[in-house]
Each structure stands twice: as structure tokens, then as C-alpha cells.
Symmetry: C2
Subunit: 118 residues, 2 copies
Amino acid sequence: MLFIRMVEQESHDKLTDILKAASDPTRRAVLTLLAQHGPQCVTNIAGHFEMSLNSVSKHIKVLEKAGLVARRTEWREHLIEVQMAPLEEIDRWFADLRSIWAQRLEALDHLLTQETAK
Amino acid sequence: MLFIRMVEQESHDKLTDILKAASDPTRRAVLTLLAQHGPQCVTNIAGHFEMSLNSVSKHIKVLEKAGLVARRTEWREHLIEVQMAPLEEIDRWFADLRSIWAQRLEALDHLLTQETAK
DNA sequence: CAATCAATCAACCAAAAAGATGAATGATAG
DNA sequence: CTATCATTCATCTTTTTGGTTGATTGATTG
């Protein structure tokens, strides 16, 4: 029971990380860039933005923590590549919410038809 | 052209609002609550949380700005109800990203088979 | 009209986030 | 060994965010 709670909490926190990471326009632009042009080193990615290399590096770390990108250190460059999997966590949350919503409506509908039948 | 840009920017900002709103655990809990138990007044919603009524009111305004809830002022209570539609904006972004990614892989695959054929 | 109740507004505080700059690490090339 | 290059670490500043409390608005009831 406590364990379930902990797992729920963990997935909850993970979802928060993913949504927070995805909620920044710069970070979404990084993801799009990586999806379009494949794995890139940090300097290369930073070249597409107005801000400093350091800021981009920080954004990438946020994405990394959320699991939205992975790092493959090859040669002396860090190759960053997009990871789609965590986005499915968002999908799942959405689907859950929608199902809860639909369930309530169904129950309500059921109740109403019962009332009418009386 | 400029117009297209503006529209893109707008939908971009909207998506940012939606993701930012959804990225807070309290706000997600509010959405779940509303999906489970239907439209509720602010005081009622606040009853489920440890924090002050004012804080909850502020959270609801964030959700409202993102379009994730709607307000129906009835009697002297404000009835808040969840709105699923904006969440599809997230879905759309996800689908777009995934399609861009798939396109690149496809092109890469095509290129490789061409090379092998030589 | 007075009292009450739902909700917001206004001002404030602390913590987190986004950005910049300069120093430090770590691998590679000469 | 030294110079260079990619990246991160440390520090600082500004802005945003999540929260509080107290006053205010606006409708309702006695």
C-alpha cells in the first residue's frame, strides 16, 4: 500500500518533470531540431539559438533529467539525441483523465435513465 | 507569410500555457477532481487541498487562462468545469514531433539502401 | 440596511527558473 | 608538455512562480 503510493508519487513526479521540460519554448525547439536533423553535439544545437552556449547546455540538462533526450559521449563531443518514450507518459495521463471523465458522464447518464424509468 | 508566422507563434504560446498549466501537480489534481466529480465551486475544490482558498483560486485562474477549465457563474458560486479540448493541442504537438522524427529516419533508410545498391 | 458568504484583488515573501559571464575539467592534437 | 576545443561548474542577476495574509467586491439573506 505504502509501496503503491510511492510508485504513484514517483510516476507523478516524473510526469511533472516531463511536462515542465516540455513547457519551455526553447526546449521544445531543441526537441524539434533533434527530430529533424538527428543527433547533434551541444555546440551545434546552440548555434541555432540566440542565447549563450551555457544556457543551451542547461536546457539540455533539463531535457535529459526528464528523459526527453539521451547523451552519447562519442569522440570528445556529447551527441544528444531525442527520446520519444517519455512523451507517452503524457499521453497516458491524458487518456486516464479522459477515461475518468467519460466514466462520470456514463454514470450520470445511467442515473438519469433510471430516474426517467421510475 | 508574416501572418502564418504570427499564427504559429500564437499556437506556440497557447501550447506553452497549456503545458505550463498542466505541469503543476496541484493543478493536475484539480483537473482529476473535476473529471471525477463534475463541476465544482472554488470553495469546494479548495476543500480538497491543504493550501489556502486564495492559492487554489490562483491555480484555477492559471488553468482557466490555458483553457483547461471553464467558469460558469451561477447563483453566487462560480462553477468550474474541466475542458478536455486544449489537451489535444499537446497530442497534436506530440504527433507532429513524432512524424518529423519518422520522416528523417525514413529518409536515412532510403539513403542507405541507395548506397548499398551501388 | 446589516450581516454573511463566495470569490477575487493587492501586496508581499521565499523559492525556483532562465539567463549571462568567467573559471575549471577533460579529451585530443601537435 | 602545451595548446585547443567541447562542455560543464560556479556564481550572480532578474523574472517567474507558488504561497501567504488582509482588504475589497458583489450577490444573498435576515
